[in-house]
Symmetry: C7
Subunit: 81 residues, 7 copies
C-alpha cells in the first residue's frame, strides 16, 4: 500500500472502505470505516466508535468529522489489531 | 444511507429534516433537527437542546451554530436512541 | 419561521429586528436586538446586555460583535423567555 | 444611530471620532477615540486607556489594535458613562 | 500625528524610524525602533528589548516579529516615556 | 544535503524515503519514513512510531499527519541516532 | 544591516547563512544557521540546537520549522553572543 502513495491524500483514497484510527486534538480517538473525505480532510466514517484507553466509550455509527480537529489518521495502527 | 455517500457533505445533505447530535470543541453537545448547512459547516437546527451527561441542560429552539467550533456531527449516535 | 430556512444565514436574516441570544467562546452570553450581520457572522446588535447565570452583568447598548468568537445564535432560546 | 446600520461595519464608520469600548480575548479592555478601521477590524484609536475593574491600568495614547483579538466594540457601553 | 490617519496602517507608516511598544499574545512586551511592516503586520524592529514589569528582560537587537501574535502597537505608550 | 536547499520544501523533498522526526503541538513526537507531503505540510509516513521520553509509546504503521499541528520536521535529529 | 531593510522579509534574506535565534509559541527556542524561508515564514535551518535557560537541550541538525508557530526571529539576539 505504501508503494502507491505519491501525495498525502493518496493514503486516504487507498483507505476508503477500510477501518482507520482517527486521532483528534484534545486526544479524542475514533475508529471506524472511512467512507469519504475532501481536501479539508473532513471525513465521513461508518460504524464509528469513540475509544478511550483501548475501550469503546461511545458508539456513534455514521459520523461527519471536521478536518481541522484531526491530528493523524492511521489505517495501520496497532490500535486496530 | 452509507451507500449514497461519496463526499463528506453528502451525509449532511442526507440528514436534513432528521435529528442529529453535534459535538463542539469544549465538549458542548447539541441535539436537534438539521434544517440547513453551508460549506463552512455552519448549521441551522430546530428544537435544539444542549445536553450534558445525557440530560437536557438548556432548550434553545431554532439555532444557528458556527461551523468552526464543530468536532463531529452524527445522525446515528447512540446518544439519539 | 423554520420553514423558510434553506441556508444558515436565512435564520439570521429572519431574525433582524428581533431579540437573539449570542453565545461566545469562553462562555460569554449576550442578549440584544439583531440589526445587521455579514458573511463572517460579524453582528451589530442594539440594547445589548451581557448575561451571567440569567442576570444582567453589563449593559453595552449598541455593539459590534466579531464573528469568529461566536459559537451559536438563537432567536428562540428559553433564555429569552 | 441604530437606524442607519445596514451592515456591521456601518457601526464602526458611525463611531469614527467618538469614544468606544473595545473588549479583547483574554478580557483586556481599552477605551479610546476611534480614528480608523479596516475590513480585518484592525483599529487605530487615540487617547487609549487600558481599563481593569473600571480603573485606568495604563495610558497608551495613539494605538494600533489588531482585529483578530477583538471580541466586541461598543460605542454605547455603560462603561463609557 | 493622529490627524493624518485614515487607515490603520497609516499609524505604522507614520511610526517608521520611531520607538514603539509592541504587546503580544501571552503578554510579551517588546520596545524598539520600527523599521518595516507588511499587510500581515509582520514587523522588523531594531534595538529591540523584551520588557517585563518595566525592566529589560532581554536584548534582541534587530528582530523579525510575526504579525499574528501581536495584540497592539503603540508609538505613544506611557511605557515609552 | 544542506547545500541543495533553496526553499523550505526542498528539505522535505530530499527527505523522501528517509527517516524523520516530526514534533507536533502538544509535544507529541513521531518517527517514521517520509513517503509524501504537500504544500500544507500534510505528511504520509510509514513505520510510524509515537515516541515519549525516547521510548516507543505506540506503533502506528502507515499514517497521515495533518500539517497544521506540526512544529518541526528533522531528518537529522539526534533522536534518530 | 538595518539600513537595507524596507520590508520585513528583507531581514530574513539578509540573515541567510547566518546564525539566528527563533522563538516559538510555547516558549521553545532554537538556534541555528538560516538556510531558506518562504512567505509563510516556514524556515529551514542547519546545525539546529533547541535551547532551554541558555543550555542546549537537544541537537536537531538540519530542521524544517513551520512558520505559524514562530513569534520572533533575531539574528542579533544577545542569546547568540
Amino acid at each position: 500500500m505504501a508503494n502507491s502513495i505519491e501525495r498525502p491524500l493518496d493514503l486516504l483514497n487507498n483507505s476508503k472502505g477500510k477501518e482507520v484510527l482517527v486521532h483528534l486534538k484534545g486526544d479524542k480517538q475514533f475508529v471506524g470505516t472511512l467512507l469519504a473525505f475532501d481536501i479539508h480532510i473532513n471525513l465521513v466514517m461508518d460504524n464509528v466508535k469513540q475509544m478511550e484507553d483501548g475501550e469503546i466509550k461511545k458508539s456513534l455509527g455514521l459520523t461527519f468529522l471536521r478536518g481541522d480537529t484531526i491530528i493523524y489518521i492511521s489505517p495501520a495502527s496497532t490500535a486496530l489489531k
